[in-house]
C-alpha cells in the first residue's frame, strides 16, 4: 500500500514563527499536494508539485511556500505563522489523479497562538 507520512499529528506554534510541515511518500509518485481543511470550507489546495524542484500555486498560496528537493518529500513552509493559519493540513500524493485518485497522510493539526 502507498503510504504518505506526515511528520507531526499535532503542532502548536506562536505567531510569527517559521513552521515546517514535512510529508514523505514511499511509492515513487511524481505528484504531491498540500491542502488545508477547515469546517465549512472543505479542502483547499495550497501548493502542488509534479516533479522534483517543481512547484505550482494552488488556490490559497499566500503566506505559504513549499520545497521539493527529493521526489519522495514535499515540505510546506509557513514563513511567519498567523492565527488564521490554524487548521488541519493534509498532504497527498498521486500517480494519476484521473484514474487512481489521491493517497492522503493522516494530517497535521496546527494551532497558532
Amino acid at each position: 500500500d502507498v503510504k504518505v507520512t506526515q511528520s507531526s499529528r499535532y503542532l502548536v506554534k506562536r505567531t510569527g514563527e517559521k513552521v515546517f510541515l514535512e510529508c514523505v511518500q514511499d511509492m515513487d509518485h511524481e505528484n504531491m499536494f498540500w491542502y488545508r481543511q477547515d469546517p465549512g470550507l472543505g479542502l483547499r489546495l495550497i501548493y502542488f508539485s509534479y516533479d522534483v524542484k517543481m512547484k505550482e500555486k494552488g488556490d490559497i498560496p499566500e503566506g505559504y511556500s513549499v520545497s521539493r528537493e527529493k521526489k519522495e518529500r514535499f515540505s510546506l513552509i509557513l514563513e511567519s505563522a498567523s492565527t488564521n493559519q490554524t487548521s488541519m493540513y493534509l498532504c497527498a500524493s498521486s500517480l494519476s489523479a484521473w484514474t487512481r485518485g489521491y493517497t492522503f497522510g493522516s494530517g497535521t493539526r496546527l494551532t497558532v497562538v
Binding site: L90, A97, W98, T99, G101, F104, S106
Partner: protein, 111 residues
C-alpha cells in the same frame, strides 16, 4: 463558489436505514471519486467512476456517475455505525489534471 456541491451537509440516521448523498456541478468531469474521512485522519479513496452512467458497488455502498458526467450519488444500504464519517466527492474537470473537492457530507449512524 464551489465547483462541486454536496447535499446534504449533515445527515444523522438510525442504524439499518438507507441514505443517499448527492454531488452536483454545472461542469463536466473526466472522473469523479468518493472519499471517506474519519475524525483525525486523512480522506481514504472509496471509488473512482469515469464513464457517464457508470454504477459501482462496494458492499453496501453504491456509487453512480451521471450520464452527462456532471453529478454523482452515493447510496448506502442498511447503514451501520462504522459508516460514520465525512464523505467527500472529488472530480477532475475535463481538460484539467487536479482534483477539486466538494465540501463534504458528515454522516452519523446512531446504533
Amino acid at each position: 463558489t464551489q465547483l462541486l456541491e454536496q447535499s446534504p451537509q449533515f445527515l444523522s440516521i438510525q442504524e439499518g436505514e438507507n441514505l443517499t448523498v448527492y454531488c452536483n456541478s454545472s461542469s463536466v468531469f473526466s472522473s469523479l471519486q468518493w472519499y471517506r474521512q474519519e475524525p483525525g485522519e486523512g480522506p481514504v479513496l472509496l471509488v473512482t467512476v469515469v464513464t457517464g452512467g457508470e454504477v459501482k458497488k462496494l458492499k453496501r455502498l453504491t456509487f453512480q456517475f451521471g450520464d452527462a458526467r456532471k453529478d454523482s450519488s452515493l447510496h448506502i444500504t442498511a447503514a451501520q455505525p462504522g459508516d460514520t464519517g465525512l464523505y467527500l466527492c472529488a472530480g477532475v474537470p475535463a481538460g484539467a489534471n487536479n482534483l477539486f473537492f466538494g465540501t463534504g457530507t458528515r454522516l452519523t449512524v446512531i446504533p
